[in-house]
């Protein structure tokens, strides 16, 4: 094994065999240690939320990762490779520049499959909305589908005033029927006030740099086809296995979905809707 140990000899057999063996061991150990060191550096640099979203996005099924421009009909088939962060996406800028008049004229606001979609708000793919608030701040709340799903939360874990939020990081947590749900932050910024479902908004945020970068958010017009798709996916996920996929052709959604579906179904649908696989 080593020079000086009984049985070792400085011959070709020992040098080649043990040389290869030590090289393999060195590669394995170095790679493992490197991963551990980088993980430690990530924790120290506060990248946990960023990596949590990175890992979660990678695990989303392809039906959850469709590009916003596919949903608005600007492209036939395109999966997002940018973790829903259009700020770093070169293709997004091209799509916006080429956007046709028909797409620009899409109606905004109103109701989609029974869910309210007010104009004047911007929507995040994790079912939060952002609206302008006084003093250069932003209101952040759950959209109507998210609110119907969670209903009245059993427990709400909001960040304290002064906490910093990273876009696509955890904004707050909700507990409902024993299930923990993570809600994604739509923008980067500092929490200046906290609200709750009764107030209609959850957080008030002062965006980083004063001016919010909202290129990753959907306008109400863009949000319409997206929300319709989300409702369809939710209905398919909740369909009776014996019946198979089925879509409602009328009616209105119940106020608190968590009361009429099982905890297992709620857990599954919340994972899908709030992008936490």
């Amino acid at each position: 094994m080593f020079p000086g140990i009984y049985g070792f000899a400085w011959d070709a057999g020992h040098i080649i065999f043990l040389g290869v063996f030590y090289t393999v061991v060195a590669v394995v150990v170095t790679t493992l240690v490197r991963a551990a060191v980088r993980a430690r550096a990530d924790v120290k640099a506060g990248r946990i939320e960023e990596l949590r979203w990175h890992a979660a996005f990678a695990e989303l099924p392809s039906s959850s990762r469709r590009c916003r421009h596919e949903l608005s009909g600007e492209v036939a088939d395109r999966a997002c490779e940018n973790r829903f962060d259009c700020r770093d996406c070169a293709a997004h800028a091209e799509f916006v520049a080429k956007r046709s008049a028909a797409v620009r004229a899409l109606p905004g606001g109103q109701t989609v499959a029974g869910f309210e979609l007010p104009a004047g708000r911007l929507y995040h793919r994790g079912h939060t909305w952002v609206a302008e608030a006084p003093g250069g701040t932003l209101w952040v709340g759950l959209d109507d589908l998210g609110a119907h799903l969670v209903g009245a939360p059993d427990e709400l874990d909001l960040p304290p005033v002064g906490a910093r939020l990273a876009g696509n990081g955890t904004a707050w947590r909700v507990r409902k029927n024993g299930i923990s749900i993570r809600v994604l932050a739509p923008v980067d910024g500092e929490v200046v006030a906290v609200g709750g479902p009764d107030l209609g908004w959850y957080l008030r945020i002062l965006p980083d740099g004063g001016e919010p970068d909202v290129r990753n958010l959907l306008s109400a017009a863009e949000a319409r086809p997206w929300l319709l798709r989300e409702v369809e996916r939710m209905q398919i996920a909740l369909a009776d296995e014996a019946v198979g996929a089925a879509l409602a052709d009328g009616g209105a959604p119940v106020e608190d979905l968590s009361k009429v579906i099982s905890p297992r179904e709620l857990d599954e649908v919340c994972g899908m809707v709030f992008l936490e696989p």
């Binding site: 094994m1 140990i5 009984y6 049985g7 057999g13 020992h14 065999f17 043990l18 063996f21 393999v24 061991v25 590669v27 394995v28 790679t31 493992l32 490197r34 991963a35 551990a36 980088r38 993980a39 990530d42 924790v43 990248r47 946990i48 990596l51 949590r52 990175h54 890992a55 695990e59 099924p61 392809s62 039906s63 996916r233 398919i236 996920a237 369909a239 198979g244 996929a245 297992r264 857990d267 599954e268 994972g271 899908m272 936490e276 696989p277």
Partner: protein, 410 residues
């Protein structure tokens, strides 16, 4: 009861039903544990191995599971090095299967070699001229690599991933997986070969002895090719089996089709090599060492039919099914071909391990048959039970098939 551990969106049976499924396997593991204890405490006299049959059921099991476990390294190689992204659908399952196969093989080797507390001796005073030393080093290293590859799958468990340092470590480990895939491929390539080479260099056993290239007999290459050819077929077979037992669609049909096609082409290559090797062995190698090839197949039940079964029925037939478009399109045909291919590699390892020793090497020696003792069989079954239990736990609590949730939603 254990809902908090089950992945979001994964539909699993109740905890009671799951425990009822595990119970008989745990009982089998218990009986096997008792047999292992007997062998370790009392020695190999608890087995039916003797000076003639120094290799028995356990070595056959080792060689077979290591060949079938090749699906892990080969799938990793195809995915991370050759970028066949379709195989991401089965890579986690292949890694778990590989880990089970290799850890099971090492468990049995520990009983077979005995004195596990002195295992370090092999590493401290290695005989670098022995094929077995290379096998020992490679298998130990590769099991370590498989354990590292298993780690990110484990850390993705619903509760474990809540721990921030685990989440980040899993993320960083995932980024360096191609390095481990490459190291795994290198190690597997050599130890599969050395296991074959071990037989090929047995000059005193003309049934196994082969010529080759430099220090490597032909069996070195045949073991590598047969393992990589059947590894994907075994991944296909186990995926289908898990799908049937759980009542869920786990991967898209295209993945089965791709695994079948890979196995098919490699099997064609293997059958060609094996046929050539057999012809050279029967007509040149065996007569060259004074053996009459006809004698090799004189002992029942190891007649000439065994050669036909191994090469034609378990080799050429599955290769043709895999390569025919119609064969790959039908699940029944794909499964039949996968089963035949896996049976083929098991037959080859049985022939090399047992038939090699059945054939006498001296004129006055009789043909001898070997039947394993109950301790050997119980240990064998314990490894199967260990594999089923570990795989069942992994399937229930970890994400082995990333496409599962999407497929279950139709």
């Amino acid at each position: 009861m254990d809902d908090a551990l089950i992945l979001r969106g994964a539909r699993r049976c109740s905890a009671g039903k799951f425990l009822a499924w595990l119970a008989p396997w745990a009982a089998l593991l218990g009986v096997g544990g008792f047999a292992i204890l007997q062998c370790l405490v009392r020695g190999l006299n608890q087995t039916n191995m003797d000076n003639r049959f120094a290799f028995g059921l356990w070595i056959f099991l080792d060689l077979t599971v290591i060949a079938l476990g090749a699906g892990a390294f080969f799938t990793g190689f195809l995915l991370y090095i050759l970028r066949r992204e379709e195989l991401r659908a089965v890579i986690n399952s292949a890694v778990v299967i590989g880990f089970i196969c290799y850890s099971g093989a090492i468990l049995v080797l520990m009983v077979d070699v005995g004195q596990p507390l002195r295992a370090w001796f092999t590493f401290w005073h290695p005989n670098v001229h022995s094929m077995l030393t290379e096998v020992t080093f490679c298998i130990t290293c590769y099991l370590t690599v498989l354990a590292i590859e298993y780690l990110p799958i484990l850390l993705k468990n619903r509760q474990l991933r809540k721990i921030p340092s685990f989440l980040v470590f899993e993320f960083e480990l995932h980024k360096v997986m191609p390095v481990f895939a490459a190291v795994g491929a290198f190690l597997s390539f050599f130890h599969q070969g050395s296991l074959g080479g071990l037989y090929g260099v047995l000059r005193g056993r003309p049934f196994a002895f082969r010529e080759g290239i430099s220090i490597w007999p032909s069996t070195f290459f045949l073991f590598i090719v047969s393992a990589v050819a059947t590894g994907p077929a075994f991944v296909l077979l186990t995926t289908w089996l898990v799908s049937k037992l759980s009542g869920k669609r786990l991967v898209k049909p295209e993945v089965f089709e791709l695994l079948g096609r890979i196995s098919g082409w490699l099997l064609v290559f293997y059958v060609g090599l094996k046929s050539l090797d057999t012809l050279v062995w029967l007509n040149r190698t065996a007569p060259g060492v004074g053996a009459n090839p006809g004698q090799f197949f004189a002992a029942q039940p190891f007649g000439i039919w065994m050669l036909f079964v191994e090469i034609v029925l378990f080799g050429a037939a599955p290769a043709l099914i895999f390569l025919s478009r119609r064969g790959r399109a039908g699940t029944g045909w794909l499964l039949a071909a996968s089963f035949l291919a896996c049976a083929g590699v098991a037959t080859n390892r049985l022939v090399m391990t047992i038939q090699t020793l059945v054939v006498p090497t001296l004129k006055f020696e009789p043909y001898a048959l070997y039947w394993p003792s109950w301790q050997e069989v119980a240990t064998f079954l314990a490894v199967i039970a260990y594999g089923v239990i570990l795989y069942s736990l992994s399937f229930r609590y970890l994400r082995l098939f990333p496409q599962e949730r999407e497929l279950q939603r139709g």
